[in-house]
């Protein structure tokens, strides 16, 4: 009977019900979409920053991260490779050797990063190969061929097939120099990276820089990137105290901090919206429910207990809340799904995005059903709790006061 009365009241007061549902559904959709956008943009930020080059897990010799000098190199890369082989949770790993050299083309001399990579393995770890703009990517057999960033090539005024020279310090502190031919040019979109990074095959680098079996670090691609921190800890235990295995959260602490701050501001904004919505719903319910005090008085007069009236009004609130969050969740979920497939493109903001290290201006939302359900549950609790005060307030009337209430 109470269910019947609750449902009929919802339809009898159609205007009130529609306004409530629309208000709550819009808020739910907003919350679902805002969460999806926030999570999606953070994921894209991680992807842009981590996957382009730095990688999810980095292994260095103890002390290298604080003092990246030749004393702190990994001097037995083969041993580290042997330890990592068949390690559970690792999809692929590769050694790198980062150094800095002076490049000199026919027109100009420019300093830059000169890094040895294992080209085939890097294809599964970083986006270097995928960022190819001109020419072709490296192979392990490439000798004196360089793959360089588009901005660096522009500054040196070289193109694919052009020659340039480099001069630097070998791993044994010797003087190292050679002529290189540009094999390919990449563009990640990270301006700073594109203007200083260049790569050569590790066998060539080892020979010319006297770095046989040396590495500055190893990069590990986990099978499950979201478990990078756990994997880093496990690798650290395996390799022992001479090595330092750090996840991207540690190597890119600034990025993590920035995302946390962004999330906090995002949630503060949402909380302010929720507080406003909470009071709007509460005041609106109070007005609507006060218009029904007489009806509540009748119910009480004929023997309905205060508890039964309370449960009937709560049932109405629950039904309206459910309808609202389902509708809002559906709309918000559909938007999250659509913009997950078709990312939002912030055209014209390329420069601003570059300042924050973002390679792409397209931001996909994150479509996560569990998060959507969490947001719907939050909105449901919010919507029902906003009606509690009005319900308790009108239920405190004595029957005769309620019947004669104007």
């Amino acid at each position: 009977m109470f269910f019947k009365i609750a449902v009929r009241n919802i339809f009898a007061y159609a205007k009130r019900s529609i306004i409530t549902v629309v208000l709550l559904a819009c808020t739910t959709a907003l919350l679902v979409f805002a969460s999806a956008y926030m999570d999606g943009s953070h994921a894209r930020l991680i992807q842009s920053s981590v996957e382009i080059y730095p990688g999810y897990v980095q292994i260095t010799h103890q002390g290298f991260r604080d003092n990246p000098s030749l004393e702190n190199l990994i001097f037995d890369a083969g041993q580290v490779s042997a330890s990592l082989r068949d390690f559970p949770g690792i999809a692929v790993f590769a050694a790198r050797f980062e150094s800095f050299v002076l490049f000199s083309s026919a027109d100009k001399a420019v300093g830059g990063m000169f890094t040895a990579i294992e080209p085939e393995k890097e294809m599964s770890i970083s986006r270097l190969a995928a960022s190819l703009k001109q020419g072709s990517y490296l192979t392990s057999a490439d000798d004196a061929l360089v793959y360089m960033g588009s901005e660096l090539a522009r500054r040196l005024k070289v193109g694919v097939g052009d020659q340039l020279a480099f001069v630097g310090t070998g791993a044994d502190y010797s003087f190292a120099a050679d002529n290189l031919t540009v094999k390919g040019i990449f563009q990640t979109g990270l301006f700073d990276f594109d203007s200083r990074a260049s790569f050569v095959a590790k066998p060539y680098f080892d020979r010319v820089m006297a770095a046989e079996n040396y590495a500055t670090h190893f990069i590990v691609q986990p099978l499950r990137p979201e478990e990078a921190a756990t994997l880093a800890a496990a690798i650290g235990r395996r390799l022992g105290p001479a090595f330092d295995a750090a996840s991207w959260q540690q190597t890119m602490a600034g990025l993590v901090q920035a995302m946390r701050v962004d999330s906090i501001f995002g949630y503060i904004t949402l909380a302010i919206i929720f507080i406003v919505i909470f009071f709007v719903v509460m005041i609106y319910t109070l007005l609507v429910i006060y218009a029904r005090v007489r009806e509540i008085g009748i119910l009480r007069a004929v023997g309905t207990t205060p508890g039964q009236v309370l449960s009937m009004l709560l049932l109405e609130s629950v039904l309206l809340g459910l309808a609202s969050v389902l509708l809002g969740g559906l709309i918000g979920g559909a938007l999250a799904w659509y913009f997950h497939i078709h990312p939002i493109v912030f055209s014209g903001f390329e420069e601003q995005f570059k300042q924050y290290g973002l390679a792409l201006t397209a931001m996909p939302t994150d479509f996560a059903p569990l998060i959507i359900m969490r947001d719907m549950a939050i909105m449901f609790v919010l919507s029902v709790s906003a009606t509690l005060y009005p319900i308790f307030k009108v239920n405190r009337f004595r029957p005769i006061e309620a019947i004669h209430h104007v």
């Binding site: 009241n9 004929v302 023997g303």
Partner: protein, 231 residues
């Protein structure tokens, strides 16, 4: 000596007590009623008829005094207990009908029975029986908004009667009806009183209606001016 079915002992009701302007609606009213009586409380407007009915039905509380219905105190008890008491023992008929707007006539009639936990079959059987007695069988599927005042009042009476209460309190039940409908309704209430033995106490200032009662109480300025048994 047997105890009265409904005993009203020294009831006073003061509205706005403690304030400068107080309204003394009832002053030391003491009345007693036997089971199965057909009683009218009459008097001019503002004499306290409605207030007295509300207190006797547990809808309002007196400032002082006590009401005992069938050996059970209905004043000074908590609201939850009072709700159950109204549900199980008292039927109300209001001047403004006060039907539940979203329920059909049949559902309104069955509402109190359902609160009492009666079976669906029993509820349907009883609502049909009462509806036939009150000549509203054809209105059972209608919502209150689709019925005339007279029809709504008959549904209200049916709702009050259906749960077989010990007492029905009717506050000016004919006030909003034309004379023909009023006479018809009073005839039906009289028949219910006789057939089902329900004690009915109603208020009115309509001489035609007052004349039907077997026990008549006249209120003036919140006090009992006459307590008679004309029939």
């Amino acid at each position: 000596m047997t105890k009265p079915f409904l005993d009203v002992q020294k009831i006073s009701k003061i509205f706005h007590p403690g304030r400068e302007v107080q309204v003394r609606a009832l002053v030391d009213i003491s009345l007693s009623f036997d089971r199965g009586e057909f009683v009218v409380i009459h008097g001019p407007s503002g004499s306290g008829k409605t207030t007295l009915l509300n207190i006797m039905g547990g809808l309002d509380s007196p400032t002082s005094g006590m009401v005992i219905l069938d050996n059970e105190k209905i004043t000074g008890v908590e609201e939850k207990h009072l709700s159950r008491l109204r549900r199980d023992h008292i039927g109300f008929v209001f001047q403004a009908y006060n039907l539940i707007p979203v329920l059909t006539a049949k559902e309104n009639i069955e509402y109190v029975m359902q609160l009492q936990g009666r079976s669906r079959r029993e509820c349907e059987q009883r609502s049909r029986e009462v509806a036939e007695k009150l000549a509203i069988a054809g209105l059972l599927g209608k919502l209150p908004g689709e019925m005339s005042g007279g029809q709504q009042q008959r549904v209200a009476v049916a709702r009050a009667v259906a749960s077989r209460p010990k007492l029905i309190l009717a506050d000016e039940p004919t006030a909003n009806l034309d004379s023909k409908s009023a006479a018809g309704l009073m005839g039906m209430m009289q028949a219910l009183n006789e057939d089902e033995g329900i004690t009915i106490i109603f208020s009115s200032h309509d001489p035609l209606v007052i004349g039907k009662a077997k026990h008549s109480i006249l209120l003036k300025d919140g006090e009992v001016a006459a307590d008679e048994f004309p029939g």
